[in-house]
Amino acid sequence: AQSVTQPDIHITVSEGASLELRCNYSYGATPYLFWYVQSPGQGLQLLLKYFSGDTLVQGIKGFEAEFKRSQSSFNLRKPSVHWSDAAEYFCAVVPTGSGGGADGLTFGKGTHLIIQP
């Protein structure tokens, strides 16, 4: 079955340290890939997306993500986190569109990022 996996439910990082959030997908073909952030009590904001081309994608707020086809991964990174980065992060894909499901995004279960002072 097609799926998106974020293996880390919680991650704690010290302010100023680097960050990597993992995302793996299971699809027959390379889907379109997204990272969204949800701040407490807020909606979802798109950080970055990958459709094709350069496998290293730059996003907003200093985030980047690298698509690795061989690993079916699309990990999110930031070289130095700020306290304001504390939030829930969701990896999402657009599935192949067949099988009768609704078009739209399929989300991973999210990673809760905690920033330590």
């Binding site: 807020q42 909606g43 192949t96 499901g101 078009d103 739209g104 279960k109 999210g110």
Partner: protein
């Protein structure tokens, strides 16, 4: 100006009631969506809708029905509310229907969410 707005922000109601959540987008997009986020923050699409087609996720109970009075609005009606319907519901929109088969790579914009609590 808010791109995708939802009302109400919070909705508390009794089991068995019928309720609606409104969604409006001022982006001129053709496609709108409803997602459900459960207590574990898992997000799942419920519907996608454009002026041509409504696509329903097969796991959504038929108590849920989207209604679109015009292209800028997609309201969510829920009949006979159950405890398990408690969740945060997000509306979203994109210029065209997002999908690999459609070839669309449009960004999907989300509303702020409506927290529904069923007592």
């Amino acid at each position: 100006d808010t791109a995708v707005s939802q009302t109400p922000k919070y909705l508390v109601t009794q089991m068995g009631n019928d309720k609606s959540i409104k969604c409006e987008q001022n982006l001129g997009h053709d496609t709108m969506y409803w997602y459900k986020q459960d207590s574990k923050k898992f997000l799942k699409i419920m519907f996608s809708y454009n002026n041509k087609e409504l696509i329903i996720n097969e796991t959504v109970p038929n108590r849920f029905s989207p209604k679109s009075p015009d292209k800028a609005h997609l309201n969510l009606h829920i009949n006979s509310l159950e405890l398990g319907d408690s969740a945060v519901y997000f509306c979203a929109s994109s210029q065209t229907t997002l999908g690999v088969t459609s070839g669309s790579t449009d960004t999907q914009y989300f509303g702020p969410g409506t927290r529904l609590t069923v007592l």
